[in-house]
């Protein structure tokens, strides 16, 4: 074995930029809506026992049934943190049903990298979530991306707990 010598950046990980797009790194470092929601009407906890990721999700449903606010706390990798962050941004203003439909579509995107069934009505939202589509090439990371969405389902369904296994 001949190691490449020196510590200078050789771009060893350059082709991982597809997975770790700038948006992901940014949301991973500085997650949006990363706080406790005191007036939450629905909450749930999501666990990924394999890697120790954990999120606590807060959703405030307005009287009209729309999601007025969404926030989260917890610990996790860049992918799961960015996914939760992007999710809280994206679901605001949606009805519970819309949010769940979006989640189903997103899970397909995360698993396959494409989304043939994405209706035009979700186009904007999916564009926002598109930076996460790179995970489909990393089977063990798909569940990092979907943990937040599983947890959202649990919160909206009132089951309180989700596990991404």
């Amino acid at each position: 074995m001949t190691p490449s010598t020196g510590g200078q950046t050789t771009g060893l990980f350059d082709d991982l930029r597809d997975l770790y797009q700038e948006v992901i790194l940014d949301h991973g470092r500085k997650p949006r809506n990363f706080r406790r929601l005191e007036d939450a009407t629905a909450t749930a906890r999501g666990d990924n026992p394999m890697c120790g990721d954990r999120i606590e999700l807060f959703v405030a449903l307005a009287p009209d049934g729309n999601i007025a606010d969404a926030a989260f706390q917890g610990r996790g990798c860049a992918i799961s943190t960015a996914s939760a962050s992007l999710m809280t941004e994206t679901v605001k203003g949606k009805t519970a049903a819309q949010a769940k439909a979006l989640g189903a579509t997103f899970r397909e995107l995360a698993m396959t990298g494409t989304c043939p069934d994405c209706g035009a009505e979700l186009a904007d939202e999916m564009e926002r979530l598109a930076p996460l589509s790179g995970v489909h090439e990393f089977p063990s990371r798909v569940k990092c991306a979907t943990l937040a969405w599983h947890t959202l389902n649990a919160a909206l369904d009132g089951t309180k707990e989700a596990s991404s296994e």
Binding site: T10, L12, F13, Y20, G52, R75, C77, A78, F138
Partner: protein, 415 residues
């Protein structure tokens, strides 16, 4: 290259014994396998022994009255003999083959914990245990009420022997069950001292040797313990086979584990009687092909020499300790005086899982997570897990350099 390794130990030649190490990986990178602590790769001799068993000498054991079955039985029992010699057991009947070391510890919890230990007695484990040496004792506690005590680990990752003494003081402890080497901290525990202290207080000692047996010579008689467990797949052998060693006097007093064929002396519907040890604990068709593979693995490491393996590993440990210390933002978990080739760490800029994904791209296989030691990670405030590099006898200092470089680059990537 590995100029500091002793002459007798030629790591380049050893690497040629492992077919997988010369398999080109994704994008043509060589495999830098730093996850031997989870499971080690298999040398050609192990693979060949299993193939030969299946192609020329296979039959069920202990049952046949024909040559092929005698060959298979002899091979299976020869594996037991080799295993006994490997850890210097006094008697070959003290070797019970299990499916892995997890089953070995469960067997002790079940048969000795429930069948021999007194109901009021406590079990002492430590903060550095693998789940396999935690959960069976929790199940015993929840089932039979035996108290579970936890010996502390200090900030260097060493057992707090004063705390162990405190736990033993009231004389209520029936068993001390401790890892011989931590699979996270690398810490090698002072087993002779543990045994002396425990025995002085009337407690028996189980050692989880899953890691230690791979890294150094184990002599159960010199250590003086009562139970010793290890697992084939970490010792360059196949999956599906593990080892429980226990003093014959304990095995003789223990009720059987699983019921079925080969573990009985006689069966009527009213009443069955048990075979003597080790048969009593090996119900059903055993892992015959795997025993043959384990035998080959033991012969392989023995031929290289456990002392040479330990020396090589010391070189790796020193190299890694120095090299990783120079990686900015890296915090190493565990600084025990006596430690083996397992390094768990946190990198400030990157989550362990992200880090593992990056390193994988560079052909470097490391583990991310809590390595089946959740309480230990909680103890060090690292609930989110660590990244772990663990070495085998084929690991080189060059590979450690590659790791260190990749870590530095990964840090740049995420910052």
């Amino acid at each position: 290259m590995d100029s500091i390794a002793p002459v007798a130990f030629d790591v380049a030649r050893i690497r040629q014994d492992f077919p997988i190490l010369s398999q080109p990986q994704a994008r043509g990178r060589p495999l830098v396998f730093l996850d031997s602590g989870a499971s080690a790769q298999k040398p050609r001799v192990v693979i060949d022994a299993m193939v030969r068993c299946m192609e020329t000498a296979y039959a069920n054991v202990h049952r046949g009255a024909y040559r092929l079955s005698e060959l298979a039985t002899d091979a299976y029992e020869a594996a037991r003999g080799a295993t006994a010699r490997f850890i210097n057991a006094a008697d070959v009947r003290e070797i019970v083959f299990t499916k892995n070391s997890t089953e070995a510890m469960n067997l002790v919890a079940h048969c000795w914990g429930r069948g021999v230990m007194q109901p009021g007695q406590a079990v002492v484990i430590s903060e550095l245990e693998h789940h396999a040496n935690i959960v069976p004792w929790q199940m015993l506690r929840d089932d039979k009420g035996n108290e579970l005590r936890v010996c502390r680990v200090n900030d260097s990752g060493e057992l707090d022997m004063d705390d162990l003494e405190r736990h033993l003081a009231d004389g209520k402890v029936g068993l001390v069950a401790i890892a011989h080497m931590s699979n996270v901290l690398g810490t090698v525990t002072p087993v002779e001292r543990i045994v002396a202290m425990a025995h002085a207080h009337g407690a028996r000692v189980l050692l989880d040797g899953s890691q230690a047996a791979v890294h150094r010579r184990v002599d159960v008689q010199a250590i003086g313990c009562d139970f010793y467990c290890f697992t084939g797949h970490k010792l360059y052998g196949p999956t599906g086979i593990g080892v429980l060693w226990a003093r014959l006097e304990h095995l003789d007093r223990m009720p059987p584990f699983l019921g079925g064929g080969d573990m009985i002396a006689s069966v009527t519907f009213e009443h069955s009687t048990w075979a003597p040890s080790p048969g009593k604990f090996e119900a059903g068709t055993p892992a015959i092909i795997e025993a043959v593979g384990l035998h080959a693995a033991i012969d392989y490491v023995t031929a290289i020499g456990m002392d040479a393996i330990e020396a090589h590993e010391r070189t790796l440990v020193d190299h890694a300790t120095a090299r990783l210390a120079r990686v900015e933002g890296l915090t190493l978990l565990g600084h025990a005086q006596d430690r083996g080739g397992v390094f768990a760490f946190a990198l400030d800029a990157a989550h362990p899982h992200d880090l593992a994904t990056l390193l994988d791209r560079a052909g470097i296989a490391v583990r991310a997570g809590r390595h089946c030691a959740e309480p230990l990670h909680a103890r060090f405030g690292l609930e989110g897990g660590t990244t772990r590099a663990s070495f085998g006898l084929y690991t080189t200092t060059d590979e450690i350099d590659l790791l260190a470089q990749a870590l530095a680059e990964a840090r740049e990537f995420f910052r």
